[in-house]
Symmetry: C2
């Protein structure tokens, strides 16, 4: 939940999120683990653990008896205490995912969307899909909300789809409000790539450093995790990384410029030269590194995963050879840990992240624009078991 002013409830949310992050990343943990990882005092950790236990988010899981002294109580996250739905809205398909508190995908479905579908048709598909996916597992009371990952441009703060590339019926559609009304659940709308990187970050915990998710799937996009939060930019439009010029005087791109990474990459794949396509992408990735100095690069997207190892190796090599002081600066390069589900899973985790992640203080923005339509006020901790 976004807030501008800092009061004591922010402290609670923040430190609680630190503890939850520990619980998410290690299978079991105890008080001393959290103390070491967060810097909180033992007493503060006790209080937080007591709250989380009361909410059913974590639970005791035995004791550790390491030698002398009173045994330490071991805790573990209760993954099925909260669920969220994630949706990846692509041009022709709707991918739905049921994600749990640990960031694990419990169910995953793919259904086709009508050609050039309308908002109404999307809502129908969403509603039906959610009913199906939650039928046998997730009690409604543990369902925290629905995340939607879409192509842009869109306006995350106000829940508007400005224009969805290649879809005619999507101009300034207040999708978040529409979906909340239709589904009766809180809805989070974001760009697909931003959702994707959130999935990786959520699963890695609070120590996850600056990172990018590079996605190749009918275009090239990038999702960014900077300074402990998703980076969306001034208008939720960050990540149009495919439309950065890498070849002055290169071929014309759909965006109007020449020599964009996307079009150069496309030419290589059209020619069947996947190795070259991968090298081109790798150059783009190194550009990102030079600009942003990232700790992690995650590769994703259907078109990339089709030749996953070629791409991974090309990026890995470029990262090790094309950057100076690579001994010190080289990031980890990995394939998305969630495969084709990243976007949908990330969308789900954005919902959970709003409730149990680090609360964000969006400074300076005066509280003039009120959040429009929210079924039941503040959700933090609202879902009861």
């Amino acid at each position: 939940m976004t807030r501008t002013t800092a009061d004591v409830t922010f402290l609670r949310g923040y430190n609680q999120a630190l503890v939850m992050a520990v619980g998410r990343t290690t299978r079991t943990f105890e008080r001393s683990t959290v103390v070491a990882a967060t810097g909180l005092t033992p007493q503060a950790v006790s209080k937080v653990i007591a709250r989380l236990t009361a909410d059913g988010l974590i639970r005791p899981a035995g004791v550790r008896r390491p030698g002398i002294g009173k045994p330490a109580v071991v805790y573990e996250l209760v993954p099925d205490s909260r669920y969220a739905i994630g949706a990846h809205v692509a041009r022709r398909t709707l991918r739905l995912v049921l994600g749990d508190l640990a960031g694990v995908v419990r169910h995953s479905t793919v259904s086709p969307l009508p050609e050039d579908f309308t908002p109404e048709q999307l809502l129908d598909a969403l509603s039906a899909g959610i009913d199906a996916i939650t039928a046998d597992t997730a009690p409604r009371s543990r369902l925290t909300g629905v995340g939607l990952g879409m192509i842009g441009p869109l306006d995350h703060a106000n829940g508007l789809v400005r224009d969805a590339h290649g879809l005619r019926h999507w101009h300034d559609v207040p999708l978040r409000a529409l979906a909340e009304a239709r589904l009766g659940l809180p809805v989070h709308l974001d760009k697909d790539v931003t959702a994707g990187i959130t999935a990786e970050a959520w699963r890695q915990g609070a120590a996850f450093g600056d990172a990018a998710l590079v996605m190749v799937e009918s275009g090239i996009g990038g999702g960014f995790w900077l300074g402990g939060a998703a980076h969306r930019g001034a208008h939720t439009n960050a990540g149009e990384f495919g439309h950065t010029v890498v070849a002055l005087d290169g071929p014309g791109c759909v965006c109007g410029r020449h020599g964009c990474l996307e079009v150069v990459h496309l030419r290589a794949t059209e020619a069947g030269d996947i190795a070259r396509a991968a090298r081109v992408l790798a150059i783009g990735v190194v550009n990102l590194l030079q600009t942003l100095d990232l700790a992690h690069v995650v590769l994703a997207g259907a078109d990339l995963l089709r030749h996953a190892e070629v791409y991974r190796a090309a990026v890995e090599q470029a990262v090790r050879t094309d950057v100076q002081r690579t001994d010190w600066l080289a990031p980890t390069v990995t394939l998305s840990s969630l495969g084709a589900d990243v976007i949908a899973a990330g969308a789900a985790m954005q919902v959970l992240d709003q409730l149990y992640g680090i609360p964000d203080l969006t400074l300076g923005a005066p509280p003039t624009t009120v959040r429009q339509h929210r079924p039941t006020g503040d959700y933090r901790g609202a879902a009861s078991v």
Copy 2:
């Protein structure tokens, strides 16, 4: 001051910083102004204002009598209540600046540095320069510290210069510790471009959105302000924007790659074609926009400012024509408001920002590595008038 755990002192620092940001950006303000800008309750603002007044950071400046009711007390920042020294350490020159709490440069000097200078020589120059610049104005008690803006690679968190490009005597030099010992003042070490963007952000206040400072001066670099804070990347190495490839198969660059923005730009300037050089830079700027979606682009650097209007116009035009949905996405494009002093001024403001800016919560990083050598513990509010 960087902290990992959130306690009530964080609240104080945060909300106090919001009020200070208001004071910095508007010449005078009153309680209702702050309430509207921050969302704090009137009573909370009263308390913060009382604290700041007691510390001498702000002072009453008359009353406003707008009609009915009790007149409102008008406050103003006391610019000369705190000073900081900023240094721009370049290859051949040392630029020193005395900046005040409002972000105004009170004094500015430039002195030559010995060719291939050593750390010891830099400290000598710093020490002498600081004595000179503070002789007639700033009482030592109001001097909050010294900021150093340098070329990288360096390690901001630990105050180390890894290698300064083109300087032989600079490998893993613990410059922050050395300077603190020599000068007897807190020292902040950072990359030049990061200091530069901090100058712009500090002067604009808390509402300053995502922004980049693009600097052309013996190379091309970028400083980033994202999500209300400087973005340094995983190893303080963000901003090597000049070494992003914009021309596959282009000329070889000093960094080992081919077709870097920097080398392509250099070829144009060497040919005397400033217009083309500006267009090349503009393409790089649009690349940044596509990737990061910025609200502001600030242009700086001696080589750029020599043809300021050519560059500004080229970037302005590219930003308006090369981005889709430019009506909505176009950032402001401005020349640095501080001219050649940006870096040094920004270095000074980084010191002030640590004390009176938004405190940062670096999450996840356990408090294992202790800050080395700090003359007198925590400086927040320590300097008394």
